[in-house]
């Protein structure tokens, strides 16, 4: 047997490795030559509604097949923070997906790295009319569409009321005030549903042992009910020009109101997270929360008796109007995308009514469109029980949809929203840690830190 020297061994291994590598690469080269398609990758929010993601993927795949595109969709989440972390990493690395879905203000953090989407927004608005005010606020910044609104995952925070409990204990029939047909609303009854009436009702349901509950803590659900409440009293943290305006009579009034309201809310709200109010109403202890229909959807599976009594409807009216919080998703297109034209075509296709119709149905009413023609989708009328209980999840009356931080510049708004300044300020007062004036001063100091 021939002696194997070290040199011979290395030589043989090198030759063998090269042969194996060549053999492995050859089919790839051949395959590539035959099937070279343009590639597009999308980072999409992983919908919590079972089946919603499959429908979205099927709709997207239809486009990919028709246009001979190698489309890859990565579903991330459902935590939106996960999406933000992915976007931060991709922005820093300068590579990653071509399109990414992000919530509220998050897309604006990467505005210098996103391709303007004016042509996509113009195309969609040309077909279906103007986007709503809040979508324009978070996507159209410094004169351009940094992102475009995406209905998938977008949701708002209406009242979710146990209609049986409120009828029995508070004498308020929310189904009668907000029927599943906007034409049947009695303007007088709607007008009378204001924060004073709401407080009185909260006292009564609390006395019966079924409190209204929402978080006053460091979570977005806290922002999404507290910020609209403050706005409905006219309290604005920072105005459009960047002036800090939190120290006002309006804020004082809102804080005094909160102080009273919190007496009729559970003491644990200061430690609640985004899902705590859902659990509160599903457990049967709570009589009202503010939330998208996710609480209802879980109750339908686990407590159908509770789900059948949940009615989604408008928020109470304050001295300065009726405001409802929302958490909208947007699409951003990274500048490093090699085929931007194709990516924009994909976005246009996905945002068209025909595709959205299927996706909205699959989301079982959770997703909220930002264009009025899509409000006529039958899902919110049909889904139940109770039938019509989600009709008013879509804005039907005089409410203003807003996101915490409005009307400040969205990049300032983002910090107000994500530092949870309004709910934390309110909690400082309602727990007795500070007087309303001290809390306003504290908030003003925090806002100074926010504005550069």
């Amino acid at each position: 047997m021939a002696k194997i020297t070290r040199r011979k061994f290395i030589k043989d291994v090198a030759v063998g490795s090269a042969a194996v590598a060549g053999a492995m690469a050859a089919p790839g080269v051949v395959r590539k030559a035959y099937t070279q398609k343009p590639k597009l990758s999308v980072a999409m929010w992983n919908h919590w509604v079972p089946g919603a993601t499959d429908v979205l993927k099927a709709v997207a795949d239809e486009w990919a097949k028709k246009n001979k595109v190698d489309l890859r969709i990565d579903f991330i989440g459902p935590s939106s923070t996960e999406m933000l972390t992915v976007a931060s990493a991709e922005a820093r690395a300068g590579t990653g997906h071509d399109i990414i879905a992000l919530t509220t203000f998050d897309g604006l953090f990467f505005m210098d790295k996103f391709e303007p989407l004016d042509d996509v927004a113009d195309y969609v608005q040309g077909k279906y009319g103007k986007y709503d005010e809040v979508s324009t606020y978070i996507s159209h910044v410094d004169g351009r569409w940094v992102t475009v609104p995406s209905p998938t995952g977008s949701h708002s925070y209406p009242m979710v009321t146990r209609k049986d409990m409120w009828r029995e204990y508070a004498g308020i029939d929310v189904e009668d005030i907000f029927p599943p047909d906007v034409r049947k609303r009695d303007p007088k009854k709607v007008d009378a549903y204001n924060y004073d009436a709401f407080l009185e009702a909260c006292k009564k349901v609390a006395k019966a042992g079924h409190m209204y509950g929402n978080p006053l803590s460091e979570c977005s659900d806290a922002d999404d009910w507290a910020c609209p409440l403050f706005l409905s009293f006219g309290s604005i943290p920072v105005d459009e020009k960047g002036n800090i305006t939190i120290e006002s009579d309006e804020t004082l009034e809102a804080l005094e109101y909160m102080k009273e309201l919190a007496q009729y809310m559970p003491k644990e709200i200061y430690g609640w997270d985004d899902a705590s109010n859902n659990r509160w109403i599903i457990s049967g202890k709570g009589s009202a929360i503010q939330n998208p229909p996710s609480a209802w959807a879980v109750a339908k599976r686990t407590r159908p008796d509770v789900a059948a009594q949940l009615w989604h409807h408008d928020t109470p009216r304050g001295p300065k109007g009726r405001f409802r919080g929302c958490l909208f998703f947007t699409y951003g297109l990274w500048k490093w995308c090699k085929d931007k034209k194709m990516a924009k075509e994909y976005l246009k296709y996905m945002l068209e009514s025909a595709q959205q119709w299927k996706i909205l149905a699959a989301a079982q009413g959770y997703d909220m469109p930002q264009l009025k023609p899509m409000y006529s989708h039958p899902v919110w009328e049909e889904i139940g029980p109770p039938k019509g209980g989600q009709y008013n999840y879509i804005r039907r009356g005089d409410e203003h949809l807003i996101v915490g931080g409005w009307p400040a510049h969205p990049l300032i708004g983002a910090q107000i929203y994500r530092k949870y300044l309004i709910p934390v300020m309110a909690a400082k007062v309602t727990t007795g840690e500070m007087t309303p004036k001290e809390a306003m001063k504290w908030c003003a100091r925090e806002l100074e830190e926010v504005i550069e």
Partner: protein, 303 residues
């Protein structure tokens, strides 16, 4: 055999390749991959974060120490500083004490039982922290807390574990103690095993009781180990993120935010990465001092 002049020259002046191949350099080659990993994952990010912290929000302008100056002017930042020290000092003290007690108990168990208990008591440390924090969150959950349910069954009023600042701090510290105690225990147990039995026998002959044996034999022999473990744990605890993020997200009213969670909130969630980097870098002096003492103790131990 004749040796040519060129061969002699080559031997006198070895080539670069032959030098690198020599045994003297082998160690450097072997360490190189690790050095590259440390440079790529520790040194570069560290200097990059310093650079980042000196920029404006859009990362387009050098602003010097402005991010640091702005931070120290606000009460919330000092609240975070206080929280971090309170969290670290309390958690490390209890972890070290409980770890020592457990190690002594385990060391006195019969050998067979000792193996089982040693394995069982390591479970909290082996489990991923994020997962065990979720378990603790379920225990402390504000409205449907498992521990409160037990307390109520025993006729005791439930506590606002995550909704009151004091109790929320207690909850985060308890979770950290639960996770970190096994580390101390296993280190101390190893230390106890290495103490020669003859020292205890000599102490016993001299009439030393259990307390005296601990004071004059066990403790002095473990002193260096205690110092190293305490310092090491201080670094890890001070930089904690998972527990607070999962249990309280920094609440209620920012009272449980640590440097790590506050840096994440400002840097990632509000999109101000330079300021987030500045917050995280405030940890550096504390961690640097702790690291200095660790290294000094190790060096002294070697002497």
């Amino acid at each position: 055999m004749a040796i040519s002049a060129s061969t002699v020259n080559r031997r006198r002046h070895p080539t670069l390749l032959s030098r690198l191949r020599s045994r003297r350099y082998a160690a450097y080659w072997m360490v190189l991959p690790l050095v590259l990993v440390v440079i790529g994952l520790v040194v570069y990010p560290f200097f990059y974060s310093i650079y980042l912290s000196l920029e404006n929000k859009k990362e387009t302008k050098f602003v010097g120490l402005r991010n640091y100056q702005r931070l120290i002017r606000y009460g919330t930042f000092w609240l975070v500083v206080g929280n971090s020290f309170r969290f670290t000092l309390t958690a490390v003290f209890f972890k070290a004490t409980l770890g020592l007690v457990l190690a002594i108990i385990l060391n006195n168990l019969p050998f067979r039982g000792q193996r089982v208990w040693r394995g069982v008591s390591l479970i909290p440390w082996v489990m991923p922290l994020a997962l065990s924090s979720l378990g603790w969150w379920w225990i402390f959950e504000p409205t449907h807390s498992a521990v409160n349910w037990v307390l109520v069954q025993c006729g005791i009023t439930g506590k606002p574990w995550l909704s009151d600042p004091t109790w929320a701090r207690v909850s985060t510290i308890v979770t950290n103690i639960w996770f970190g105690t096994p580390f101390f225990m296993i280190m101390y147990l190893a230390g106890l095993k290495s103490i020669p039995q003859s020292l205890y026998e000599a102490a016993e002959i001299d009439g030393a009781g259990a307390t005296q044996r601990f004071r004059y034999v066990t403790f002095p022999m473990l002193r260096k180990l205690i110092a190293i473990t305490v310092m090491f744990s201080t670094i890890v605890t001070f930089a904690n993120f998972d527990i607070v993020r999962i249990l309280t997200r920094g609440g209620p009213r920012y009272t449980t935010h640590l440097f790590g969670t506050y840096a994440f909130n400002i840097g990632i969630e509000t999109g101000h990465l330079p300021r987030g980097a500045a917050i995280a870098l405030f940890m550096f002096p504390v961690l640097g001092i702790a690291a200095f003492f660790i290294l000094r103790n190790i060096a002294r131990g070697e002497e």
